[in-house]
């Protein structure tokens, strides 16, 4: 390191000792940029051309940092400086202050007594540009599957007890102090008897105390050894080593423990450990001590790369003290994209017993589960073709009905547009071959309105459905005729069945049906004004006609077929059944009208309403076994309304009205008020005849500065009992958050479970989304963690 001539020049200018030496801006910049240093002071003294004393408001400025103090002594020969009084080093986002500093400018080795240090977070934009942060964001939002039909439709919610939530958006400032700081090279510092916190100056709510602490300025990370965490003066955690980060990058280390109690498993403590293995790869290990059951081990390993992603999740509870059994849960998952249109994946889930979730989990997304998929798939997609090979079976918990195994299912779907004259003709070919199997011990049991259906039928089904449609499209409307032929053939085994005590037999054979449909619609528009905003209002009438002849299908078994819900989507389907085992006979016309309000400036849809009904010119003859056929010559009336109001209200409502019986079949109304993050209210009423009648209230609201109330109440009016209940309280102290949650969970395989959880989150040190958090995100739509509210409000 070479000093510039700046100090000499400064000294020569300092004839008047009271005047602060100055150099011109330009030469300062040049000198610093050239790798030199600039020295400033009220007064400068040279000793034998080797030592420089800068006295009074002294500063040495280099391109990397600025060192200042009351008095700086600089030894030019060995490049050593000493700062006496109010020493301060500033640079690279940090400030270190102390009474005294010794530093060798050459190799950056030195020492400061009684230092206080501050770290500023990097600007959010800069932080997100770091590859490591980008990866961590990606792994967090890995819910979007690769191009895979299978996972797109599969309901995926694993039994993760915890999931590290990487709070890269909250880059809190941090600070600390120590007995001594040792500079050990360009980017390394070692501290003795140090303290570290993300609380602002003057707030001493929590600290990491360590006999030794290392700081890596390049990676913006720190390591505390022989450390303990003190919260409000009380030590709450001891650890031989704690890693932390000044930028909240993912960092290996202990995560905040979760403490709670549930009626089924008793008092519990979950202590997770997070291991940041590599960019795009991490693992979390945990032990969960359950007072009524023993010690459960949890492990989760996640990885993702350009063309693949996956995760393995295992929980193991050896010899449960309540049941005496070894209990486990495992989920293995992988997705691979071969980049040439092909992709593949597997998802395997298994649990040791029917009651595992209801006894060991408190999350509805888990406890409501009855079927666990064990499946693998291979997919191909290009501009014309879609291919999917699926091998699938299920573990079914506590049920009398078992889904068919598909070993395997092959689906090939092709769509191509042909230019004929001045228009396009669309051709589509759908083919599928499935082998439906079931184990001997799992007969098919189906409750129907007219008694139970019992059968062990298995078989292979082939379907081919070629079709041609010719769209005539104009901006103001369209008309699309479509012709197709639906062919199915069955080869069946174990063909006996019993429906409502009457025996029957399914028959192998083929079924071919022509299908004709005509879809048409018009767009009307007008400009309108509501208060001060101008809107485009549309009026879109739609007519949809379908003709399918009747064919007796009562000798065909039901493998994957059911009646679809009637709604504004299914009104425009050829077949009211999903699956290929039933094709309805039809000579029917659907009439519907939609109106929308679009913001004239942004094009955003603010309001939409649809009203529709289907009219039949023929009786329903094709039905499901034991089901009632339609009475009357029209379907129920369906209406749907959705609105996004400027006042931060969202409204979604839908009704279904049976004109034949003059009764309401479905009535759903949901409202959300979400004026800002941290303030949300949800209110909904859902009614479906013979199935549901419930109200749902949930919300998060600030009670006073720093306090947030959380709640959810789901009550069944049909059964006159609560389904879910949750009450919680969050406290946000800025550099830490605490939350408690009390909840009641109805479980699919056992009685309701009550749970109470407490979690403490120390900003920047240990932030995890443990089970209550995941629960809150589901239970209270629109929920924002209190620690993230400020950061999301202030950009």
């Amino acid at each position: 390191c070479v000093l510039t001539h700046a100090p000499a020049r400064a000294a020569s200018d300092a004839a008047d000792e009271t005047a602060r030496p100055r150099v011109t801006e330009a030469s300062t910049a040049n000198a610093i940029a050239a790798g030199g240093a600039l020295i400033e002071a009220d007064r400068m003294e040279f000793r034998m051309d080797r030592r420089l004393d800068a006295i009074g408001n002294a500063a040495i400025i280099t391109d990397k940092q600025q060192i200042s103090g009351d008095r700086i002594q600089y030894e030019e020969l060995n490049e050593t400086l000493r700062v006496i009084g109010n020493a301060r080093i500033e640079g690279g986002g940090s400030v270190i202050k102390g009474p005294d500093l010794r530093l060798n400018m050459g190799d950056t080795v030195g020492e400061m007594k009684q230092p206080i240090f501050f770290y500023q977070p990097a600007a959010p934009a800069a932080a997100s540009a770091l590859p490591q942060t980008a990866t961590s964001n990606a792994i967090r939002s890995n819910s979007r599957p690769l191009r895979n039909r299978l996972t797109k439709s599969a309901y995926d919610d694993s039994n993760k007890g915890y999931q590290p939530q990487l709070r890269t958006n909250t880059t809190a400032a941090s600070r600390g102090d120590a007995d001594a700081m040792f500079f050990e090279g360009q980017n390394k510092k070692r501290l003795t008897n140090a303290r570290y916190t993300t609380c602002e100056a003057g707030v001493d709510d929590w600290y990491i105390r360590a006999s030794e602490m290392e700081i890596d300025d390049f990676n913006k990370t720190g390591t505390a050894r022989n450390a303990r965490v003190e919260f409000l003066g009380v030590p709450i955690l001891y650890a031989p080593k704690i890693d932390f980060s000044f930028q909240n990058l993912r960092k290996t280390g202990l995560l905040a423990p979760l403490i709670g109690t549930t009626t089924r498993s008793g008092f519990e403590v979950l202590t997770p450990f997070y291991w940041n293995i590599a960019p795009g790869m991490d693992a979390t290990f945990g032990t969960r001590l359950l007072s009524k059951r023993g010690l459960q081990y949890q492990g989760e390993f996640r990885y993702m790369g350009e063309t693949y992603q996956g995760g393995n999740n295992i929980e193991y509870l050896p010899s449960d003290t309540s049941t005496g059994d070894n209990r486990y849960y495992a989920k293995l998952q992988h997705q691979q994209d071969f980049l040439n249109g092909w992709s593949a994946g597997y998802s395997l889930e298994k649990v040791s017993d029917d009651n595992y979730f209801s006894e060991l989990s408190t999350r509805i997304t888990t406890t409501s589960r009855v079927n666990l998929a064990q499946q693998a798939s291979l997919n191909y997609a290009d501009d014309v073709w879609d291919f999917n090979l699926l091998v699938q079976r299920y573990q079914t918990l506590g049920q009398r009905t078992f889904p068919y195994e598909r070993l395997p299912q092959l689906t090939l779907n092709g769509t191509k547009d042909w230019e004929v004259g001045d228009r396009y003709v669309n051709t589509n070919l759908y083919t599928q071959w499935v082998s439906f199997n079931r184990s001997e011990s799992q007969p098919n049991f189906l409750a129907t309105p007219n008694g139970n259906l019992l059968t062990g039928v298995t078989g292979r089904r082939f379907t081919a459905y070629p079709s041609v449609s010719i769209p005539f499209t104009r901006p103001y409307g369209y008309i699309t005729p479509k012709f197709g032929a639906h062919h199915t053939s069955y080869q069946l085994d174990n063909t006996d069945f019993t429906l409502n005590g009457v025996n029957g037999e399914y028959q192998s054979g083929t079924r071919t049906l022509p299908i004709f449909s005509l879809d048409s619609g018009l767009y009307y528009e007008r400009n309108t004004r509501i208060v001060k905003n101008s809107y485009t209002q549309t009026l879109e009438p739609r007519l949809y006609y379908v003709y399918i002849p009747n064919r007796d299908q009562s000798a065909i078994p039901i493998f994957d077929t059911a009646l679809a819900d009637l709604n504004t989507s299914s009104l425009f389907q050829e077949n009211q059944f999903t699956g290929n085992d039933r094709i309805n006979n039809a000579n029917q016309l659907t009439m519907a009208v939609t109106t929308r309000m679009l913001d004239a400036r942004t094009g955003d849809q603010r309001f939409a309403a649809t009203l529709g009904q289907r009219f039949n010119f023929t009786e329903q003859r094709v039905g499901l076994p034991g089901a009632n056929l339609r009475r009357g010559d029209s379907s129920d009336i369906v209406a749907a309304v959705t609105a996004k109001l400027l006042s931060k209200w969202n409204v979604d409502a839908a009704w279904q009205y049976n004109t034949y019986d003059a009764e309401l079949v479905r009535s759903n109304i949901g409202m959300r008020y979400n004026p800002e993050p941290g303030k949300v209210m949800n209110l909904s009423y859902r009614y479906t005849a013979d199935l549901l009648d419930q109200i749902n209230v949930s919300g998060q609201w600030p009670l006073s500065p720093r306090w947030y109330g959380l709640g959810r109440y789901n009550y069944s009016l049909e059964e006159h009992s609560p389904i879910e209940g949750l009450a919680g309280l969050e406290y946000d102290a800025g550099c830490w958050q605490a939350r408690t949650v009390l909840q009641r969970v109805s479980t699919a395989t056992a009685d309701a479970n009550y749970a109470f959880f407490f979690q403490l989150e120390l900003g920047g040190l240990a932030s995890i989304g443990a089970s209550p958090m995941r629960y809150l995100e589901r239970g209270i739509p629109g929920y924002t963690r209190s620690g993230e509210i400020q950061s999301s409000v202030t950009p």
Partner: protein, 151 residues
């Protein structure tokens, strides 16, 4: 009541530059554009209009439970974010969002059939999104380029 048939004219642009094609609706969108007489061009310089699909997201949530904690209804959400640029403009337009929502009743004893229904609703929701996106595009009236493209 003031309603008129929409835009009696055809779509006002012939060449579209599409950016961000790694989304589930890309294929259907391309087909829809082609069948409406819009050609997809490989460079922005050749385009009368530019469309960038910024992102998409899909979510499945439990909507309601039975008294015994079984799922009775699921909710599906789909959202696609995009923005449009007129070549005569220096800047991209504001990001816009098209979102769709469907719900369906669920019964564990009809698992495979309900998976089929879910897939159908997902396809329908995406087809709706493409239709809405086409709607947004079809009312665009891009101005002709003020300067010829830079050689």
């Amino acid at each position: 009541c003031g309603f008129q048939l929409r835009g009696v004219n055809d779509i006002a642009f012939k060449n579209l530059y599409l950016q961000g094609q790694n989304v589930s609706i890309a294929r259907d969108l391309k087909r829809s554009l082609l069948s409406n007489g819009v050609a997809l061009v490989p460079t922005p310089e050749q385009a009368d209009l530019m469309l960038e699909i910024l992102s998409e997201s899909a979510e499945k949530r439990i909507l309601s439970l039975s008294g015994t904690g079984r799922v009775r209804e699921f909710e599906l959400n789909y959202q696609v974010n995009f923005r449009i640029k007129d070549p005569s403009n220096e800047l991209w337009g504001m990001p816009q969002t098209i979102s769709g929502r469907r719900d369906f009743t669920f019964d564990d004893s009809q698992l495979l059939a309900k998976q089929g229904e879910e897939a159908r609703l997902n396809d329908d929701m995406r087809a709706d999104a493409v239709r809405e996106l086409m709607h947004v595009l079809s009312v665009q009236r891009p101005k002709p380029r003020t300067k010829p493209p830079v050689e």
